[in-house]
């Protein structure tokens, strides 16, 4: 059905732009399955961009083709990217929620002469796999490392890390541990939990027994987060004064209503809060909420998609619609603009986004809606992950 609608939309678009060129952009993401909400956010961000800027860039009309990879599946991701390039003739590839999906596509870019704009996948190393990769999201290192500084500032001497045992979890653990110990703190214990853990009570007892003053946690957004935050409260860690620290994946806006009052006071560091106070963000949130349908489902991947579209539009402007991947990528190196999340730029060396990282506290508004309140800003943070890997 989705394909049919796309086909109809495509034919309408093509007949409308009879004289100018139609530039196709292929977006790969999870649009069905357990992570469908993140794919929905990609689409909301892209739709919001088109709604506010129009689908014309210069003389050219853009057309978006969506391809669905429901779960991390590198082989399928690669096959779909190939199909987009060969059959559909897309000039740009974008999206990519999971790191392995993005990694699988990077070897195609040079031969296909197609730049890739990553709208989520958060492992530092992806940008090194091809010079045609640009990322407008964040890395786990980028969002986790400032939290270690916050912990030290707040007088935490001993911390414990608790992460899900998979790539981004290990990244978060390393980012926090490295930075925290550099600042003079001590990580007394590092726990890695299996991804399928449901009952977090035993973990919380270990955290309690470890004597740490703060727990740094990373879990993928979604169902497990809820159980984890509840276990933190129910096992008396909150009463015992053990501070809860995490990157913002744990308190993404679409999970907050379910977490409820249990989440109040949790500190997270992240690149974007829907509550960011700026006119750009207010306009973006209004457009994206309209695009997604149910405002409660809007979350952070939407802003990366929105900015990704901005970057692609600049690439199209620079190349005049002609397919030249290297020229397109070179054109956005050092690009600086005001994103809904705050001032951002594309680092010319890493092609990763340099952005503010905010310390936020989960708060409840007068209207009863939970939000991430920004209370401190770390300005112009590059990705420390690449430097650490060298």
């Amino acid at each position: 059905m989705k394909k049919l609608i796309l086909a109809v939309a495509a034919s309408i678009l093509m007949s409308a732009g009879a004289y100018a060129e139609v530039i196709k952009i292929g977006v790969v993401g999870p649009f069905s399955g357990p992570f469908a909400i993140q794919g929905k956010n990609f689409k909301a961000g892209i739709d919001a961009y088109i709604a506010t800027h129009g689908d014309k860039i210069g003389e050219n009309t853009i057309e978006i083709l969506y391809r669905d990879v429901p779960q991390a599946d590198p082989a399928q991701s690669k096959a779909l990217a190939q199909e987009l390039v060969v059959k559909e003739g897309v000039q740009y590839l974008a999206g990519f929620y999971f790191t392995p999906d993005a990694m699988a596509v990077t070897p195609l870019l040079k031969q296909a002469n197609v730049p890739m704009v990553i709208m989520n996948a958060a492992t530092s190393a992806i940008v090194t796999k091809s010079p045609l990769v640009v990322r407008t999201s964040f890395t786990t290192w980028q969002t986790s490392a400032p939290m270690a500084k916050i912990a030290r500032e707040r007088g935490v001497e001993k911390a414990i890390t608790v992460v899900s045992d998979y790539g981004p979890g290990v990244d978060a653990e390393n980012a926090f541990k490295t930075t925290f110990e550099k600042e003079g703190g001590k990580v007394v214990e590092s726990i890695r939990m299996p991804l399928s853990t449901n009952d977090f009570s035993p973990v919380m007892q270990r955290v309690r027994n470890s004597g740490a003053q703060a727990v740094f946690a990373f879990l993928p957004s979604g169902p497990t987060t809820l159980g984890f935050v509840k276990a933190y409260n129910e096992n008396g860690l909150k009463q015992a004064g053990i501070q809860f620290l995490a990157p913002g994946d744990l308190t993404q806006e679409s999970d907050l209503p379910a977490i409820g009052d249990a989440g109040l006071g949790i500190l997270t560091t992240f690149h974007y809060s829907l509550a960011h106070n700026s006119p750009e963000n207010k306009a973006f949130v209004a457009a994206a909420q309209k695009a997604i349908g149910n405002p409660a489902e809007l979350s952070f991947p939407a802003v990366s998609a929105y900015d990704g579209m901005y970057v692609i539009s600049k690439m199209i402007e620079a190349t005049g619609g002609k397919q030249d991947a290297q020229k397109a990528v070179d054109a956005v190196k050092g690009l600086t603009w005001e994103s809904p999340r705050g001032p951002v730029s594309i680092d010319p060396d890493t092609r990763h986004i340099t952005q503010n990282i905010y310390l936020r506290e989960v708060s409840k508004g007068a209207d009863g809606v939970y939000f991430n309140k920004e209370i401190k800003t770390f300005e112009k943070q590059p990705d420390p992950g690449l430097a650490a890997a060298k």
């Binding site: 449901n198 973990v203 007892q205 209503p257």
Partner: protein
Amino acid sequence: MQTFFSIGVDALAYGMILFVISIGLSVTMGLMRVINLAHGAFAMIGGYIASYAARDLGLGYGLAIVIAVLGTIIIAVPLERFLYRRIYGAPELTQVLMTIGITFCIIGLANYVFGPTLKTIPLPAGLQGPVDIGFRTIAAHKLFAIGCGVVVALGLWYLIERTSFGVKLRASVDNTAMAAALGVRTKIVYAASFALAVGLAAFGGVIGAELLPVEPYYALRYMVTFLVVVSVGGAGSISGALIACLLLGAVDTTGRYLVPEYGEFFFYLAVIAIVWVFPRGLMGRAK
């Protein structure tokens, strides 16, 4: 020593929640001989109904549980009449294919109707927050779940072993033709036990929602665990399912407490060991 008690309490709570959700599956698989992979889907429907009743309609927790159980049964009865009745006694592959199909349909519908976000079931004040039990604190709702597990176990044992319905059910299962010849209305007995199994699934889905949050993929996410409990305990055996839940809950909790790096290694190691020694499960009946 404190660690020992601490693990014990967590294991008991986790095991009991597993028991309440899985026992319905044990009834369908062991007594009715239907491999019902849609069991998790019924638990999820119960969770959704309770969430809607308690959160959106503002009804009390107790009332929400009753509505969830009845509502799920009402949804399941036509499914039994038109779909499940065709696969009683059918080859296992047919049963698996049809019930997994039903599961995917329910996942799609849940995603469409309720959206992909998590749904919670607000607890009454009495079940919220930690309770001090001397050497540590434990969530009040976990104590409630332990109580529910005990009540369900005793109630089911009484129903199946001590009432005339239980006698008819066991008779219908062992020899449908003979039971029918003796005047047992086997179709009604089957429909009633299917409703019972589905009702238990819904009840478990609501009670366990704090640990296993309700979202569209609930139906598949925890299905393997439920199946493991039934096969380790022995399909159809209440005491077997209870022992399996407590044992697996203990192994899993101890493993996660002491050596989380090993993941679910010890859980599945225990499963392999038990099934190796008891191929029909701990209390499975010989065929």
